[in-house]
Symmetry: C2
Subunit: 220 residues, 2 copies
Amino acid sequence: MRGVTGTRPPAPEGERPAGTRRARPAYDHSSLVEVAARVFNERGYDATSMEDLSAAAGITKSSFYHHVRGKEALLRAALERALDGLFGILDEPAATAGTPLTRLRHIVRRQVEVLVGELPHVTLLLRLRGNTETERWALGRRREFDAAIASLVREASAAGELRAGLDPAVDARLLSGLVNSLVEWYRPGRVPVDELVAEVDRMAFEGLLAQGPAGDGRRA
Amino acid sequence: MRGVTGTRPPAPEGERPAGTRRARPAYDHSSLVEVAARVFNERGYDATSMEDLSAAAGITKSSFYHHVRGKEALLRAALERALDGLFGILDEPAATAGTPLTRLRHIVRRQVEVLVGELPHVTLLLRLRGNTETERWALGRRREFDAAIASLVREASAAGELRAGLDPAVDARLLSGLVNSLVEWYRPGRVPVDELVAEVDRMAFEGLLAQGPAGDGRRA
DNA sequence: GTCTATAGAACGATAGAC
DNA sequence: GTCTATCGTTCTATAGAC
C-alpha cells in the first residue's frame, strides 16, 4: 500500500558495496548528495550554483559533473534519501503489527531517529516550497507520509487509545510538527539520539506535566 | 527588562487617529506591511521585488514608495509586528504572576493566539535565515524570547511542576517547536482558534494518551 | 489653492547572459 | 569582458478632495 503513488526514478548509478574502496579518495555519489543537501539548506536551492557545490566538495566543477548528472538530479537524490528513510519506517514489522497506538508510537520514535540520521536530507525535504516539478513530487510524497500518520492517529483515537474530545486531524498535524521541528535546532553531538527519542515520545504522548491528566476517564 | 535590547526605529509616519477617513482608498501602512509579509513568505525576501509588492497591493511601484520607506523597512516593520506581539505576552499580568507552570502555560496559549493573529508576520520571523542585518537583529530578538521560555521551563522543572528525569533545555526546544510548527499548516477558518489553543496546550502538557502517565511519582 | 495619493520616467548599481 | 535586464530608489507631474 505504501510507496505505490511515488514514481521511482531510474536506480542511482554510483552505488557500491560497502567495503569496496577506490585508489583515489573516491567521492562516492551519496557523500556528494549529502554535501549538496547541506549547501542547499544553507543557501537555498535556487541561490546555489554548481560552482558552490563543487567548491564545497573540494573539487572542480568539471570533476563534480563527472560524478553527478546535474543540479536537479542532486536535489532529487537528496529528497529520495529522506523519503526512503521515512517510508522505510512504515514497512518495519513494529509499524505493521500491534494496536494503532503501539504502531504510532514506534513510528514516531523511529521518525526521530531517521530525521537525525538523515538530517540534511530531511531538512531539505521539510523546507521545500514547491517551485520546481521535483519539489512538487517530493511534497506529494511527504503528504502521503503525513497522511499515513494521520490515519494511524485516527485509528488510535477511534480505538480509545488517545485522549477523547478533540480533533484527531489536528493532533496528527501537531504530532508531525513536533517531530519535524527538530531540524530547526537539533545538531548531532550535544544531545544523544536515544535521549532525544525519549523526550519527544514523552512530550507527545505523556505531556510535560508532573502529575497525570485531570482524567475524566471517558472513552470516545 | 523585556524589549530593552531591541533598537526601536523612528516612529512610523502615516499613523492616523481611528475614524479619520480619506477620500481615496488610503492604503494604510500596516495593511501594506501585511501584504508585504505575505509575498515575502511566498517568494522569499530576496526574490521579491518592489514591483511584486506594489502589484500585490494593487498600485504602481512609485505609488507604493509614497507609503513605505523601502524594502528593508517593510521587512523590519513586519518582523517588529511579530516580535511586539510575542514580547507583549511576556508583559501580561498572567505571565508574571503565579507558579512557573501557570505562567508557562498561559504564555504558550497566548503564543498560539498571537501566532494565528499575526500569521504572516510570525511566519516570516520563523523562516529567517540571517542574511541581512535586519534579519540577524530579528533572530537575536527571537532567541531572547525563546530564552525566556526556556528559563520558565527550567523554573517549572526545578519546582517539580514538570515531569522529572529529562533535560529542561530540550523540553523547551520541543515546546517552542510544537507551537511554531503551526505556521506550516494552520490557516484561519478551518479550525477555531480556541480549539487550536486547547489542542496545543493539551498535547504539550498532558500528552496524547488516553490514560495518565505510568507515573512513578518521583520529584526532582 | 492646498494637500496628497497615484503614476510615469529615469538613475545608478548590479547580476547574469553571452 | 561586454551587454542587457532588472532591481531598489528618486524625481517630477497630474488629478481629485477639501
